[in-house]
Amino acid sequence: MIRFFQWGLVCKYVAGFLLVLTSICHAESKSDKLDIYLYDEDNHKPIAGAKWYINLGNNGTSQDSGKTEADGLIHLHDITQSKIQVYIVAKHFNTIDTLILIGDKSTIQILMLHGNDAAIEVEVHADQTKDIDAQPGQQLSNLELISTRSLGIAQTLANIPGVTLIATGSTIAKPQIDGLQGNRVIILNNGIRQEGQQWGNEHAPEIDPYIAKHMKVLRGAGAIRYAHDAIGGVIFVEPDTLAFRSRQAELNLGGGSNNGMGAVSLQQSSYIMLGRLAYRVQGTTKRSGTVHSPDYYQKNTGSAEYNGSLALGYVEGRHKLEFFGSYFYTKLGIFSASHIGNVTDLYQAIASDRPAETSNFNYTISRPYQAVDHSLFKLQYDYNLPDSQWHISVTVAHQNNHRQEYDKHLPRNNTKAALNLPELDYSIASSSVDANLDYRVRGWRHSLGISTMYQANTWSGRFFIPNYETYRAGIWANSHYTKNKWDVEAGLRTDYRQLNAYYYQGNDLLQPSNNWQNVALQLGGKYRITPNLHLLANVGTAWRPPAANELYSNGLHHGAATIEIGNAGLNSEYATTYSTGIHLNNYYRFSADVIASINQINSYINLVPTLPATLTIRGAFPTFNYIQQNALLRSISGTLLYHLSESFNLKLNASILRGTDRNTKLWIAQLPADRFSSSVNYVLVHSRGRLQSAGINLSITHVARMWRLTANEDYSPAPDAYTTLNVGANALLKLGKRSIELNLSVDNLTNTRYRDYLDRFRYFTDAMGRNVRLNLRLPLYN
């Protein structure tokens, strides 16, 4: 049974493969031999009779396999690649599937754990994907992660074709998967569903990108193992696994010239009791100043961010206990000229080329601004039954999210204004308990899980969404089967949800209650025609009940200068995603990963303008109501790579999406415009002196004009198409025993003026101009 080509691995394989070709590798002054010793994690004895299967890198034909002898040794020679895929199966031990970066070490140890696949420890830097999915997805490469994370979590994820940004100026961005965002995209932060005020377009995910070792996106409905409502998909943000037998520390620095951004992130991991008790502490601080558009500074666009996390792990025999706590705080200046009084002011702002307010460069954050903090606590317990085919996991988590929005518009009364209170203030607390059971036998993996959550939201300041509480409970089952050229996966899930809201209408306290219950399912498969050519197909469903803002919001959305009116009569959305993909790996010099999908969403909830504008004492405000449509989204996105030579390659990324209302045949708004990028990459194949690896690349990004708009749907027509030029260089330098990873890039090299359709501040300002960024990763010891 060889499961090497399972989807999770393929993702990783592709990511790793691109990494090798385009960029940094962790080591290039590599030896061509490697001895891997397998040891029992508990007693440190060699493991004999383990079956191993190894892919020696990007050339799919170099594969090797065998069985370990009494010394637990896997001896590899003639390694030409800098990364190898390792897959090891041993009876009574958890299967290892990982990517090993070939360094100057010629011997490494792998400690195998009894049954528990969450605790694989490899004593070299190694990727690890523990999920097996037939659902299309993609993982970010190490280079993409390191070079873009100082910009923010959404900006980092946007490296993946099909993932775009819905932005509010240069500092606030949310990830959008195939045109869907907010409550339709689930972010799993270290396995916990991130619960903040994710319904708002100007509410960015509250996650420190520096915590992530891996980021992965599963696209479309069907991720039933994780959620019933992930209509757009699931984003995984995973920290590194705890190191029970090694100590390491690293420093990450990031800087940006455009807005004087500086980020410092420190991480240390170590053990307190060898092989038993380990910890990781991590902290990040980031400041940035006024953003510069090619012709002016965007007044009040500075930001500050302070984050920290602590992870503790304890292993005893077949038991494992893990604690994770993190805190995220951000204060974000909102571009002053975007906060407008009423519709008259908005049209005035749109009509002028230059914002009414500009400024000099500074780090001051004044009104309007947002202050958001998010804390997360998680306790996870894992147990492997003695025959190691069974695995039980229970997770308890609690999150608190506190969001304060300070309007530019101070209270009219000077005494009240002096208090400097936020105009909008929401607190949301969520507690969850999840449990799952995995059973592996002869190519099968059966999983069964339950998931529950309680959530409470309170507000003060101005009314926008009511107090509410939500109860959720779900049960799911999933089976995965692998044999020869096939991978097949099927799953079923049912969930119950209750939402009780509390708000005043006049002097009457209303307490509406809603109940929903529905089923989601998934069926997927993958067929490997050859080791280098795979086809996959997946169908999944998801359903999402209306959120509190969609049902009950009622009021003035100041930042947007709109009045939004909820609709208490909304039904659940029900989505079915059909997707198919092809994976090609160095097939006649071509590599490709292309995914095409159709997402059919019944009762799609959409916020649409309603005429006439609402008349208030402050003038007329455009008014938006929630309606339901039968939406049809069709997308194709992917990466195509052509290897000109060992050192040179050409890469093309494309994301194309169309969305229409099935009944009216009209276009659906707020979807991304067609996006293409192409790059030429040069990679230093052999290391030279201290330079272990290096690469340079030049890329062009073209975003077409969003012409698919229905008349009178927006305040202003969609902005023109734009093209930006970017260059990047990276190097891995060896200084003594350490290797420093350096990354220099210039975004918008030509300082082009442009506005993006999905940036709401396109009404007010050009996007960010040229930005020279430097990122550095320095291991302090390891």
Binding site: L312, Y314, F323, G325, G341, N342, T344, D345, A356, S375, F377, L379, V396, H398, N400, K408, H409, L410, P411, R412, N413, N414, K416, A417, S427, A429, S431, A456, N457, T458, W459, S460, G461, R462, F463, P466, N467, Y468, E469, Y502, Y503, Y504, G506, N507, L509, Q511, N554, G555, L556, I563, I565, T614, L615, T616, I617, R618, G619, F621
Partner: protein, 180 residues
């Protein structure tokens, strides 16, 4: 190990404290202007009083305004005009215009009218140079016509210099106006 579990349990307990969600705050406990009343008195005939009221008892959003009168004036007449602002969501109603007068250095009314009407500011604040507030004004009508008068109240803390574009808009009401 015990210490670890204790620390974690404490962390959970601390974060579990929440505000009571079943007793939400009443909306609009914050400041609000629900009502704007223009009282125009004929300077030649004190019994000729014209009142024009805008009233939206629950503020912005929610229910629509319940009253929005037109201003009906006589041609070639001079009116002494007073503006009264109320917050009628409170009981008794709060007279916001008194607050405006008290903080007159930070507020100003602007009147954008179509032709046929002339508005002269009658009051002045204590600023140097002194600038009008606009709570009491003199309106002079000429020939019969129809149009609109837009009453704008701007909050301009520290920036008041008679410029309508500055500051935040607290009121912007476009009254239909008829001069006969």
């Amino acid at each position: 190990m015990k210490v670890l579990i204790f620390t974690i349990a404490t962390a959970f307990l601390i974060t579990a404290c929440e505000k009571d969600i079943t007793t939400p705050p009443k909306p609009n406990e914050t400041e609000l202007i629900t009502t704007c009343i223009l009282t125009l008195t004929d300077s030649a005939n004190a019994s000729n009083v014209v009142k024009a009221t805008f009233r939206d008892p629950d503020g912005e959003g929610g229910n629509a305004a319940t009253q929005f009168d037109s201003i009906r004036l006589k041609a070639n007449t001079t009116y002494n005009t007073q503006i009264v602002l109320l917050d009628e969501s409170k009981s008794p109603a709060d007279t916001i215009s008194k607050e405006i007068l008290k903080e007159q250095n930070d507020h100003q009314f602007f009147f954008n009218n179509t032709t046929g009407l002339q508005i002269i500011y009658a009051d002045k604040d204590t600023n140097t140079p002194s600038l009008p507030v606009g709570l009491s004004t003199i309106w002079r009508t000429t020939s019969p016509s129809a149009g609109t008068v837009t009453v704008i109240l701007k909050h301009q803390p520290g920036t008041k210099k008679g410029n309508q574009a500055d500051g935040d808009t607290d009121i912007e009401l476009k009254y239909n106006t008829v001069i006969r």
